[in-house]
């Protein structure tokens, strides 16, 4: 019996060792990807972005702001760290990670949503994307807050990839370790969506004929305040932007006034500008959207031009001068180093 149990234990140990090794291979593979969404994560984590203007927020941030256009208009380096399918708590975690590894930007454009005052419930969207970064305190703490069992992903081999993730992210990790890379679909973190209007909004309207209410959760307000405090601590100026939303959806949102009141209050309390693009002409045209919340690539280009020119023309001349000054100092230091 002892030898039999010993053999079974030896086999279990073999499986455990294989699991640990495979986990390490997946982590390393994902950390080596320099394209697509893992490319953005890895640049944030490796501290190789150092942008002057950073865009944060949810999928609306990700698909609405083209940093290349903002850079062209302002002359500042811009980068988009918008996080698909995320609530404010995870957006704060991503921003905190950015600030930990990169130079603080001069300006943060944080894109707002009707659900900005909501936090993650019932598990994060696409948990596989966080797995190689669980040693990052902000990310791990945020995951732990939304799911007390998140520790398992950190300490049990393969748990995060096998149990939490349904998207086979682990295959990308193994493939990357073997030299494969996903096609590039992010440009300075921006992900344009080349899509036309879908039936998503019609379905939403049909299932909510009397309108929709977006909760203002105390935890969501705290998360927004945490984001603004974080920026304040790093000396980052903040503009809270409500990017265009299809106008019929605006009418469908029952507590829109209340939500915008809360945005205004946050702006006042933390000295952040609030720019509302609800009345932008873009909002009236389906052709610029693929659903009520998201601009397509054409809409995103128009909006990016709009906001970039506003950054230039509005009260940000001081910001630009500061950036230019910093660049001058940087150039001077570089000159001294090379002499």
């Amino acid at each position: 019996m002892i030898s039999g149990l010993g053999r079974i234990a030896a086999f279990a140990a073999l499986v455990l060792v294989l699991a640990v090794l495979l986990h390490a291979v997946i982590d390393a593979g994902l950390r080596h990807i320099d394209t697509s969404s893992f490319g953005v994560w890895n640049r944030i984590y490796d501290g190789t972005i150092d942008a002057d203007v950073v865009v944060s927020g949810s999928s609306r941030a990700l698909t609405h702001y083209d940093p290349r256009i903002i850079a062209n208009y302002t002359g500042l380096r811009a980068y988009n760290i918008g996080l698909n399918g995320s609530q404010t708590d995870m957006q704060v975690a991503r921003l905190a990670t950015y600030l930990r590894h990169n130079k603080a930007p001069l300006l943060l454009i944080h894109n707002l949503d009707a659900f900005s005052f909501q936090t993650t419930h019932g598990g994060v969207y696409d948990p596989g994307q966080y797995m190689p970064y669980l040693r990052e305190p902000a990310i791990y703490d945020a995951l732990l807050r939304s799911d007390p069992d998140a520790w398992r992903s950190k300490f049990v081999p393969l748990y995060g990839y096998a149990v939490q993730d349904l998207r086979f992210t682990w295959i990308s990790g193994v493939a990357s370790a073997l030299g494969w890379k996903p096609a590039e679909d992010h440009f300075q973190g921006f992900k344009p969506r080349f899509a036309s209007w879908t039936e998503d909004f019609a379905r939403l309207k049909a299932s909510n004929p009397n309108g929709v209410t977006f909760a203002i959760e105390p935890d969501g307000v705290t998360a927004m305040e945490a984001l603004l405090r974080l920026c304040s601590a790093h000396g980052v100026k903040v503009i809270l932007v409500y990017s265009p939303e299809y106008e019929e959806m605006q009418r469908l949102t029952l507590n829109r006034r209340e939500i915008f009141g809360a945005f205004e209050k946050l702006g006042r309390d933390f000295g952040a500008a609030v720019w509302d693009y609800s009345n932008s002409p873009i909002s009236a045209h389906k052709q610029y959207f693929y659903n009520s919340q998201h601009l397509n690539a054409e809409g995103a280009e128009l909006f990016s031009r709009d906001i970039a020119s506003r950054i230039v023309s509005d009260s940000f001349t001081g910001l630009l001068a500061e950036a230019a000054g910093r660049d001058r100092i940087g150039r001077e230091m570089e000159r001294i180093r090379t002499q």
Binding site: R7, I8, A19, A162, L166, F168
Partner: protein
């Protein structure tokens, strides 16, 4: 406790290891305590219901053995009614009340629904049927009444098969509790391999397909014909892999401990007729209904009409056993209708096949018979899975309508999951086909240790990486 949970991954090795080091007189106690812990992981208080049915049937068994004449029949009736009453209260109370309210409102009477919350104890239908089987076997004198309450309780509560079968007969299982089970490496590893195969079926196939099926069947009106068809075929595999996967884990874990449970499935989707399907599907329940309902009703011994009536009653009750909903009853009756129509048209079909030169053994005829059986089974599964009869009707009438190949994915089931799901089904079919001829386990056993262990370890890692671990309950737990 779910088999597919971290808790069971800790529980089972501990229970198994302790079982083999304990002296014989403590082994059954150990199994009973482990079974109580296993069952109480769901809703602890419901162990009292289990205790009640065990006590009733244990005492009934003892008295049945001693009693003679009409007293025996009365004792059997009391025991069966008492056991079924528990089943009725917890499973069918609201079904009866709701239907009574429906009928009375048609008659212009206003009845209100009571507001007591009744939660169905996990696996109630399984252990009540196992208990019933015991008293009926004692009544017919085919089984001696068990004197030891400990042994009888452990027989009903034996954790590998407590919540979803196989529904054992006392002749097969009860005596095994009196035997000494020592550690046997070959038997233990054989049990573990069987469990691994069950986990593959449950986690890799059933729970992945469940993502698609639950999306589509929750709101069938939102999906096109192609999606409805895929969901229906997926459900056929989901329920098979879910339930036979459970049976594999049950049989495997019992084997690890030294017990032999009956087989519950025999490649049912390889059947070439509905009657063959029912000989291969949920064998322990089918034989239960055959022995205790169909045959006592006369079976096929008293002419065609009586035979058809027996089939309708047996399958109708079988449907009701599965759930307190008309969808299940309809599913049972549809299967009875298949069998009746199959019996009535057999000669006609034989003639038709003969007229086009297709003999009974020809590949084409076998393929037609197999495909027809599979399609009919899938149609019946629609009734089984749909939430309401109107949903079922919608699905059945839209399966072939508005196919859109560009719209296949659902919210939970992204397109990238499709190759994994299809490959897993293909693997299942391949293994079952090969197993028909040779034992894969024996083939692997002939390999030297390094490639053999590498293969086993690879299989375990594959189940881990391709499985869905959402602690999804086994479908049959609700029955």
């Amino acid at each position: 406790m779910l088999f597919n949970s971290l808790a069971f991954a800790v529980f089972f090795p501990l229970v198994g290891a302790l079982y083999f080091v304990l002296p014989r007189h403590l082994q059954t106690w150990h199994l009973l305590i482990a079974s109580c812990i296993f069952y109480m992981a769901f809703i602890p208080a419901y162990i009292l219901i289990l205790g009640l049915t065990i006590t009733i049937d244990y005492i009934a068994g003892l008295y049945l053995e001693k009693a003679t004449g009409r007293t025996r029949s009365w004792l059997l009736a009391v025991s069966v009614v008492a056991t079924c009453l528990v089943l009725f209260v917890f499973k069918y109370f609201y079904f009866v009340i709701d239907n009574a309210i429906g009928v009375s409102s048609l008659l212009g009477l206003q009845l209100s629904r009571p507001t007591i919350e009744i939660i169905l104890p996990i696996g109630l239908s399984f252990h009540t049927f196992q208990s019933l089987s015991y008293v009926i076997e004692v009544y017919y004198g085919r089984q001696k009444a068990e004197r030891s309450f400990l042994t009888y309780s452990t027989y009903v509560m034996f954790f590998p098969q407590l919540v979803a079968g196989p529904i054992e007969r006392p002749q097969n299982l009860l005596h095994q509790f009196a035997e000494r089970h020592r550690f046997d490496y070959a038997r233990v590893t054989s049990g573990l391999k069987r469990m691994a195969w069950g986990f593959f079926k449950k986690l890799v196939i059933a729970d992945r397909l469940a993502l698609y099926v639950s999306d589509v069947y929750a709101q069938p009106q939102d999906f096109n014909g192609l999606q409805l068809t895929i969901a229906t075929i997926f459900f056929a595999y989901q329920i098979y892999c879910d339930f036979s996967g459970y049976s594999d884990i049950a049989i495997g874990s019992a084997r690890v401990l030294g017990f032999k449970l009956m087989e519950n499935f025999d490649r049912p989707y390889h059947s070439r007729s509905i009657s063959e399907f029912w000989r291969r599907w949920h064998i322990s329940l089918s034989t239960w209904f055959r022995d205790y309902l169909y045959i006592p009703m006369g079976g096929s011994r008293f002419g065609e009409r009586r035979h058809f009536l027996s089939l309708l009653v047996t399958f109708g009750v079988s449907g009701l056993w599965h759930g307190a909903n008309w969808t299940f009853v309809s599913w049972g009756l549809l299967n009875a209708a298949y069998l009746i129509i199959g019996s009535l048209t057999k000669e006609l079909r034989d003639l038709a096949y003969a007229s086009i030169g297709l003999g009974e053994k020809t590949l084409a005829r076998r393929a037609i018979a197999w495909a027809t059986t599979f399609v009919l089974t899938c149609i019946a599964w629609v009734l089984f899975r749909a939430e309401t009869l109107s949903d079922a009707w919608y699905i059945l009438t839209h399966l072939l309508v508005d196919w859109n190949v560009e719209q296949i994915a659902t919210e939970q089931f992204l397109l990238r999951q499709m190759p994994v799901a299809l490959l897993a089904i293909a693997m299942l079919e391949a293994v079952e086909l090969v197993q028909k001829r040779v034992s894969i386990s024996e083939l692997l056993a002939r390999l030297p240790i390094a490639p053999r262990w590498a293969t086993y370890a690879g299989c375990v890692i594959m189940v881990v990486m391709f499985g869905v671990f959402r602690q999804t309950q086994f479908i049959y737990f609700q029955f």
